[in-house]
């Protein structure tokens, strides 16, 4: 299964000079290898897919904060969730909701100024507090990342091929010939035409969509168990986005990776995610199966967010619903539920504005952090969303405009 670690050569896989096309079964064509055969790094500390039966990735009580001149930014606050085998978990939230910080924390890529507490368990092993060296055996091999901006993520002075080769070489010992063969296979797998020729080109010679695919090729080079895709299509045009999402789907079918898809685009999530977690101001607002989140949302924020989207598949002449106010400052976060200043259900004094709502299960797979989760779920949209009032304007707390992502 872990074909990329093998050193054995198969003439069918590496000898043929014919260009591999995207449709070829690259993974299937490669020889199966015994466990540990040719593995360069000791992974015995982390159980593999066969021996581990718990959740693949489990985040427990994760908090991340940054000290700044203006105060402590609480980017992520007591976040718990898990990623299961072969699933796509979508993390949805607006800028400053903590979704990117969460992904950086999982990979251990946060700057030293960040204070991180909690546990991040990969197949039962806590990644937080692991030494850099130990982390390196997991990062890129077991958990890999596709970044939003491929142009800055790729190094402009190396060819695309050599950068993908570097990703392979970091975890495997392979000969040069074999390596270039694998690079070509990977590029073909993500649908890049003329992969052999393209491997020798530099990132600036690739278009935006191609760069993003090259990044995906790099991230799947070692067949990771978890692929974190942080806004993988945000910088792309829709027709190119469709191509890239198509590639991600195909890759997942083949590698059975779990995907953690971080995005602000509810449309993208609707198309690919199995479960969705909605984040607001660094906390979990709601988590559930895709259908539960879209059709039975139990948090006023989720409900408002869905209602504020213009639909391009429907005729509408009405105004859009709108969530009043602004996302809160992460330095001066409102007490109690962080959403309460914008929430039409927060009229009960002394509850929403003082007590942090616990995550309440509305079904075995669905939980919402709202004091009125059941009510909200049952209520019609109009009762939850305030009518639009354009003359309503909120004061802004100074420092409001510094999303914590900027600090990383």
């Amino acid at each position: 299964m872990r074909w990329i670690r093998t050193r054995s050569t198969d003439p069918a896989a590496s000898g043929a000079d014919s260009a591999v096309t995207a449709g070829d079964d690259v993974f299937d064509a490669l020889p199966p290898t015994g466990d540990g055969d040719g593995a360069v790094l000791d992974i015995s500390v982390v159980p593999d897919r066969e021996t581990w039966h718990g959740p693949l990735l489990e985040v427990r009580d994760l908090s991340v904060s940054f000290k700044t001149d203006e105060g402590v930014v609480h980017a992520v606050d007591s976040l718990s969730f898990e990623v299961r085998d072969d699933e796509t978990l979508g993390i949805v939230g607006e800028s400053g909701s903590g979704k990117s910080v969460t992904s950086m924390a999982i990979l251990g890529l946060l700057p030293r100024t960040a204070t991180v507490t909690g546990e991040i368990l990969f197949r039962g092993r806590n990644l937080l507090g692991l030494r850099e060296k130990a982390l390196e055996t997991i990062r890129g091999r077991e958990i890999a990342m596709v970044f939003q901006d491929a142009l800055t993520a790729l190094n402009p002075v190396f060819t695309v091929g050599s950068q993908i080769a570097e990703a392979i070489g970091a975890h495997n010992e392979v000969s040069d010939a074999e390596m270039s063969e694998r690079v070509v296979e990977l590029l073909a797998l993500v649908g890049i035409p003329n992969p052999r020729e393209r491997a020798g080109q530099y990132p600036h010679e690739f278009s935006g969509g191609m760069r993003q695919r090259a990044m995906i090729a790099m991230s799947i080079a070692n067949e990771p168990a978890v692929l974190i895709a942080d806004e993988p299509t945000t910088a792309l045009d829709v027709t190119i986005q469709a191509q890239v999402l198509d590639v991600l789907e195909r890759i997942q079918d083949r590698t059975q990776s779990s995907i953690l898809l971080i995005t602000h685009d509810l449309g993208v999530v609707a198309g690919v995610a199995d479960r969705v977690m909605v984040m607001y101001a660094g906390r979990q607002a709601e988590i559930g199966l895709i259908e539960e989140i879209f059709y039975e949302p139990a948090h006023p924020y989720t409900k408002g967010l869905l209602a504020s989207l213009p639909r391009f598949d429907r005729r509408t002449s009405e105004r859009l619903h709108r969530i009043v106010g602004q996302p809160p400052s992460l330095i001066y976060r409102p007490p109690g539920c962080a959403f309460h200043p914008r929430c039409p259900r927060s009229e009960v004094p002394g509850l929403c504005n003082q007590h942090l709502p616990p995550l309440v299960e509305t079904s075995p797979t669905h939980a919402s952090a709202c004091h009125f989760a059941d009510d909200v779920q049952a209520a019609a949209l109009e009762e939850i969303v305030l009518p639009d009032d354009i003359l309503l304007s909120e004061p802004v707390t100074p420092g409001d405009d510094a999303p914590p992502e900027d600090a990383t």
Partner: protein
Amino acid sequence: MTIVESSPVDGAAPAGPPLLRVTDLVKEFALTGGLVRRRVGTVKAVSGVSFDVDRHQTLGVVGESGCGKSTTGRCVLQLLTPTSGSVEFEGVDLVGLGNRELRALRPRMQIVFQDPFASLNPRMTVESIISEPFRVHGRYKVDERARVKELMRLVGLRPEHVNRYPHEFSGGQRQRIGVARALALDPDLLVLDEPVSALDVSIQAGVVNLLEELQEALGLAYLFIAHDLAVVRHISDVVAVMYLGKIVEMAPSDELYENPAHPYTQALMSAVPVPDPRVQRQRERIILPGDPPSPVDPPSGCRFRTRCWHRQELQDAGTDTSICAEQEPLLEIHSSRGIGHQAACHFPEVREVV
């Protein structure tokens, strides 16, 4: 031959010329290279675009990056000088107009930019930002402060924040400042270049609503340029789809979204994800191969033919499609649809993709 006249407009169709009429607009940029900056090619950013926009009306222009939609907007305002074609504002052609005449018309057409972080001077207070147009156009007699406060109230900002600086506002509020500045001189036409793309979803809805309400109250005409097809459908009366410098399809909003006839429009729409899992998972995506060709050297005939899935289908079925490469399809009324639906395709075929 423009569709705008026949499309539903509030009230009766006005007599006389439309507020804005763009005819055969072309904009080319010289591509220079080498030591002496010799001209080595021409970027054909906009290649013959025509449309009308009237008061109370919104023309949405959609397309992907590089299709020429922003260049079109800038040519309309004469921020870029068109290579050829005409831009008539109330019947007066702006192209070739002297500086003085143009300056007299400028207050009546304004622009709102995409990035509310870059388009406001960080060293100026909100008051000086919004009142700058008065000074630029020599309207010193206006009671500036009162007018600024009125404008702030109009766009949903608190008038008491008049002395604040842009950094004290969030993205959505900054965009409102940009709108207030554009409205300062009572314009008739606003060019909105991706006005909500930089905003978070929950903030975006507020700005879209604001624009709609301002249009109703002030009778503004909007040229709304965006890549987000959902926002464009919501706000536009008529939508034009651009590809590689040309309008490939133009129709009243609902007609275009429900009955797209051009293969590019169909592919574009099929690619937009719908935030509804059951709907989204049943939709068929038309995946276009490759990337748009370079506007330096656009394909002959139909510019979309190199990526056209419909042409491929026809070819596979044995139809002769050589006309696509030989002859440029004109933007014409699509026969089987009602008046007001134009598509530039040799083989238009309505297909539901939404």
